[in-house]
């Protein structure tokens, strides 16, 4: 939903804005794009989507393991593409759109190259080593890139490497289901890594601003950390190898408290607070649901349903109050 869009429509409904002027009002308010905004959008879309298609084509090509092409030709193809992408990044600069897209493609191609090495020479390396080596190989590019998307790609590679390290069944671990049922120690490390990355990002973003000041990147990190923390507590509740009162509760409570302090007391970020409320609602649902399932009492199910409705409604009301308070502040 969009504040300006809703306001304009409500003014037109109330008759204080001529209805025939609605489309023009949307353009003047910046809700709908003008010609220059369209051109800038199309330029970015075509560059990023074109780069993504070429990078995906390289991945598919190596995965196809085309026997008619010799090993040197394969290496020449992938390395040639990698060098070309780096050349574009160097030529156009890391602050230009083509330069940023080219560096991102080069980072993906590095993974393709490492996979090709494993495919051609049958190194026998574990899959986690591919992701770990990939993360190490592009670390310098990521560090100089000033690109939130590239940093998130790097953190995702490290997350996958950690999960794979603790799993022998690598193929299953890469999928979403594999991630969900990864060993708990792997999930704890992923949680700690993402919380640390979130804290550092917020600290640097506040201190330096610039490209670090974007909100979407820390929100992605918080979503990953929050999902993993919620999952670990849910595992404790439903007893996946642990008692219903396992030790996950303590770090979970600390995490929730820290989120509240960081995004309600220190500053206000409604997205983070909405995630916090959702996590609490999910944990309450499982905490109350397990005894209800064990006893199969109809009244218990009704009570839990109403409790969840109450929790969510209270959370929604609180978030609206915080939002209104934020809009009212200078």
């Amino acid at each position: 939903m969009n504040d300006a869009r809703q306001a304009i429509v409500s003014w037109a409904r109330a008759g204080v804005l001529p209805r025939d002027e609605l489309p023009r009002a949307m353009r003047v308010a910046g809700v709908t794009p003008d010609g220059a905004t369209w051109r800038a959008f199309l330029s970015r879309l075509l560059a990023w989507l074109g780069a993504a298609c070429l990078a995906a084509a390289a991945v598919y090509f190596v995965a196809a393991n085309w026997q008619a092409l010799g090993r040197y030709a394969k290496f020449a193809l992938v390395e040639g593409a990698l060098v070309a992408a780096l050349a574009v990044a160097w030529w156009r600069g890391l602050d230009s759109l083509p330069g940023r897209a080219a560096l991102f493609v080069a980072s993906v191609l590095m993974g393709v190259l490492l996979a090709l090495v494993g495919q051609v020479y049958q190194t026998g390396a574990d899959t986690f080593e591919l992701f770990a080596a990939w993360a190490v190989a592009i670390a310098v590019w990521v560090a100089i890139s000033r690109q939130p998307a590239l940093w998130l790609l790097w953190i995702a590679l490290v997350d996958v490497a950690i999960v794979l390290y603790f799993r022998s069944d690598a193929a299953r671990a890469v999928g979403a289901a594999g991630f969900l049922f990864a060993p708990r120690v792997a999930l704890w490390i992923v949680f700690a890594l993402n919380v640390a990355a979130l804290a550092v990002w917020e600290w640097l973003g506040a201190a330096r601003g610039g490209w670090l000041a974007v909100r979407w990147a820390p929100r992605v990190l918080a979503t990953v950390a929050g999902t993993v923390a919620t999952l670990l507590v849910v595992y404790d509740i439903i007893g996946f190898g642990s008692s219903p009162f396992g030790w996950s509760w303590a770090p979970y409570a600390l995490f929730i408290g820290a989120l509240y302090w960081a995004y309600r007391v220190r500053t206000v970020d409604l997205f983070m607070l909405a995630g916090l409320v959702l996590s609490v609602v999910v944990v309450v649902a499982f905490a109350l649901g397990r005894p209800a399932l064990e006893n199969s009492g109809a009244g218990a199910f009704l009570l839990i349903g109403l409790t969840l409705i109450g929790c969510a409604a209270a959370g929604g009301y609180w978030l609206r109050q915080v939002g209104a308070e934020t809009r009212g502040s200078p």
């Binding site: 429509v9 109330a14 070429l54 909405a274 959702l278 009704l302 409705i309 959370g315």
Partner: protein
Amino acid sequence: MIPAAGVWERLAAAGIVSGTAPPAADDPSPWYVTAMLGVAAWLSALFLLAFAGVALSDLFRTATSMLVLGMLVCAAAIAALRVAGNSVFATQLGIAASLAGQALVAFGVLDGGARNAVSWAVIAVFEAILVAVAPQYMHRVLATLGAAVALRMALGAAAVAALFPAAVAAAFVAAQGATPQRLLRDSLWAPVSTGLALALLLVIPFALLESLFFAAGRSAPFAGVAAWAGTGAVACVLVASIGRLLREAGIDWRSRTGMWALAGGILLSLAAWPVPGVVVALIVLLEAFAAGRRVLAGLAVVALLAALAHYYYALQAPLLVKAAALAATGVVLLGARFALRLARGGGPEADHA
């Protein structure tokens, strides 16, 4: 999200309004608060359904009783939603009860078998009616999603699931638009288009489910024709969408810009023919950007990346052919960007990120 603050002053400066700014009447909840409430309502509905299943277990033995109970629950929930106003608790209770009622209706309709296309079509119509009669934003999103899911299952059962992306994309384009009449009905069409965009994200999980539950449908003699027709229809929807966006921007399609835009759409549809999911996501992205709906645009980007990833597992072509198709699409896109840059003079500032 674009804040409302200062909008009135900008409109006044442009001579569109005059006087002092009246307060905006609509609920200003950001999308993530609405989404949180939607997920919580789903969870609550599961427990309400469990309550009904245990407490009223006798009623679950016949399809008729489930249908009647479900419709009564839905009617009560919609009545609650219509009088709920700004009460968060009443709204949440209404949505959760409605979801439980919808599940009961679905169980009743599907009692004769989950592979019956007509049964799924009936559920889709029921959900569409709920979209029209219940005024709450999140309820409309969820009911639209329910209607789309039921439509997808109906098409899957009829072995023409390949038509689903085109059907939803066409509905999405129809729900968009910048005419005054359309904008005044934003409270209906905005949640409908959000629900349809979410349904497009579900195309991939649907395909996986279908391979488990509708294996017979895949070998139907007209499944191949449906796949071609579906991809062709997606291309037509893209071209129609570009045409409408041009018209709304006041650009004649016979002008140089108009011809370039339409030709680009056709070329892209041809290049991405084996990956129709990419074209569908692009349709949503373009329409969402044109309407200034950034969250929808974000959903479209997720759908686009998912389509590229899912293409890897699609069985209709070997990986080498897929790599060639993707490379061709990439070259077309980068070529189009180069042409765009040339057309506007291509100064260095044009590329500055």
